[in-house]
Amino acid sequence: MSSREQVAGAPRTLAEKVWNAHVVREGSGEGGARQPDLIYIDLHLIHEVTSPQAFEGLRLANRPLRRPDLTIATEDHNTPTLEIDKPIADLTSRTQIDTLRNNCAEFGVRLHSLGDKEQGIVHVVGPQLGLTQPGVTVVCGDSHTSTHGAFGALAFGIGTSEVEHVMATQTLSLKPFKTMGINVEGTLRPGVTSKDIILAIIAKVGTGGGQGYVLEYRGSAIRALSMEARMTICNMSIEAGARAGMVAPDQTTFDYLEGRPHAPQGEDWDAAVEYWKTLRTDDDAVFDAEVTIDADELEPFVTWGTNPGQGVSLSQSVPAPEDFEDENARAACERALDYMDLTAGTPMKDIRVDTVFLGSCTNSRMEDLRTAADIIRGREKDPDIRMIVVPGSARVRLEAEAEGLDQVFKDFGAEWRFAGCSMCLGMNPDQLEEGERCASTSNRNFEGRQGKGGRTHLVSPLVAAATAVRGTLSSPSDLDPVDGAAAVAA
């Protein structure tokens, strides 16, 4: 998406429009020798894990943080989800949190600390405050920054060197991305969610297929999704190898934003909406690649292996290495089956799990908690299942409690925790035991991701809830009807 190649009025994709609007300085040169563009960053999100070395770099070079007013920090990766009023027991975690607090104080960065009403997972906090808006550029030292693309923002994860670069200059040197249109047409069946859409996309594109691309999710099935569901899809763009995923803003986006603390107001709101309405891929624009998914055909989707591309429909069976033509895929399957302790041909629904985790920046917002609560209300948890529910932010937790969802989870026998990344990556005490199997609404099923030797199946909140009832990977349609519980046919 070279801005130089854009003739005035030439059709452009959404990603190209946002990119072009942020070029501070075009890179010189042509083709492979072209230097990167200097891109302005509208919003920089910070957390405790990837920032300490960047702050230290500023200090060593005696550089200020250029725009504290475009920067916001929260504590999420390391924070405990129990007894948050006590000092953090793990000393290295406590040191890292203290370091963030000291750095934010020194450089004038707004910080929402553990215990604060706005604390939570960085990708839940930004949208909830209304800071994530259409057409802005958002970065964070976290690969799931792609979440914010649900608003039509260009949002992507960066490494710590780039975090320091943004702190010092409010820009990044970037080579233009290629664009990939992902067309999802049709209507989802009951019990099928945006999590199933994205897991199916990753299985189709592969974990590396999106490398170098910005994905744009479009089509009637995407337009019909809520903002929270769109965030789930964009969140996992990185699992297809793409740094960013986007959805064009529309009335659903504007309705979500209006009235949020940092959304524009009055005349500013009108001016912003007028601009936001231009943020769509022009009819004649051409993507560098396109993929089509039939929403009508989708079923609940789950992973069987150790990367997010290793997934199948829940009604299918664990594949065999011979099912793959590519030699690398075959070897990866073999290794994954061994790690996951699964036998080829086993129906996915026969797989028994030990733990159900409902949380993470992928699925920890109000809609996720509500849909899961609707499934379990009036039902009994499988007695051998441990279920942990971790709201994405302190505010989500408060809202859920105001609706009585916490009581639904507690009555069911689930643990109702404080907000944070928790068992998604196991940096805090919330980890799987060696050999433990988990149905998880998070985003990565990598070896040991949720704890050393732990085995992860990625699932939607609906599948997570149904699995907690039955003890084996299940969809809501597998459950017996119960008075007062949601009837879901799939």
Binding site: G32, T95, G212, I238
Partner: protein, 200 residues
């Protein structure tokens, strides 16, 4: 950053695809607040297996990792690059890299050389047949050499130039600070600001 034009060191075959950054460095090691001292964390879980390639004597001095496709996918943790460098690696060869990992490598002076899968497999065979063989990664000619194998690699021109000149990105950008200031003057007033804080 130290200038790097060419590097020769023992090649280490990592015959596996989809090596994500959680494998390169598990999350429990990310709690440190320093930029160095991550050598013990590199492939921490796999290193407990005595058969893991880094535990084999022939590769103990390894500094060029020859990996399968899709190396460095997943998390943005730059700690993955720090751990590889702290352990002693100066270059990684793969037929495809995770975007963020490749970017992070370029910032830290680790050469991420994209080599065709067919050539990766030839190098694996050479290293298996003659453990301890060195691999030369030459940025000037954009070639890797291992025994009689000479293969081209891809790396973008800008990263190559910065590696060869040992240039600091922030310093380069700050030469254009006036452009940033000029751009800021054009930003609409309704763009989001985090300060003053507004709470719901």
């Amino acid at each position: 950053m130290e200038k790097i034009t060419t590097h020769t060191g023992v090649g280490v075959p990592l015959r596996q695809s989809d090596v994500d950054t959680d494998q390169i460095i598990p999350a429990v090691y990310l709690k440190r607040i320093t930029r160095t001292g991550f050598d013990d964390a590199l492939f921490a879980r796999w290193r407990k297996d005595p058969n893991f390639v880094l535990n084999q004597e022939a590769y103990s001095a390894g500094s060029v990792l020859v990996a399968g496709q899709d190396f460095g996918t997943g998390s943005s943790r730059e700690h993955a690059v720090w751990a590889l460098k702290d352990y002693g690696f100066r270059a990684v060869l793969s037929s495809r890299f995770g975007d963020i990992f490749r970017g992070n490598s370029g910032k830290q002076g680790l050469v991420a050389a994209q080599v065709a899968q067919g050539d990766i497999e030839l190098i694996w065979k050479e290293l298996d047949n003659h453990p301890g063989t060195t691999v030369t990664v030459d940025l000037a000619s954009r070639t890797v050499t291992c025994g009689s194998i000479v293969a081209p690699f891809e790396i973008d021109d800008y990263t190559r130039w910065r590696l060869m000149e040992g240039l600091d990105d922030i310093g380069l950008t700050l030469q254009h600070e006036q452009d940033v200031t000029d751009y800021e003057a054009t930003r609409p007033s309704w763009k989001p600001k985090t300060l003053p804080a507004k709470l719901s």
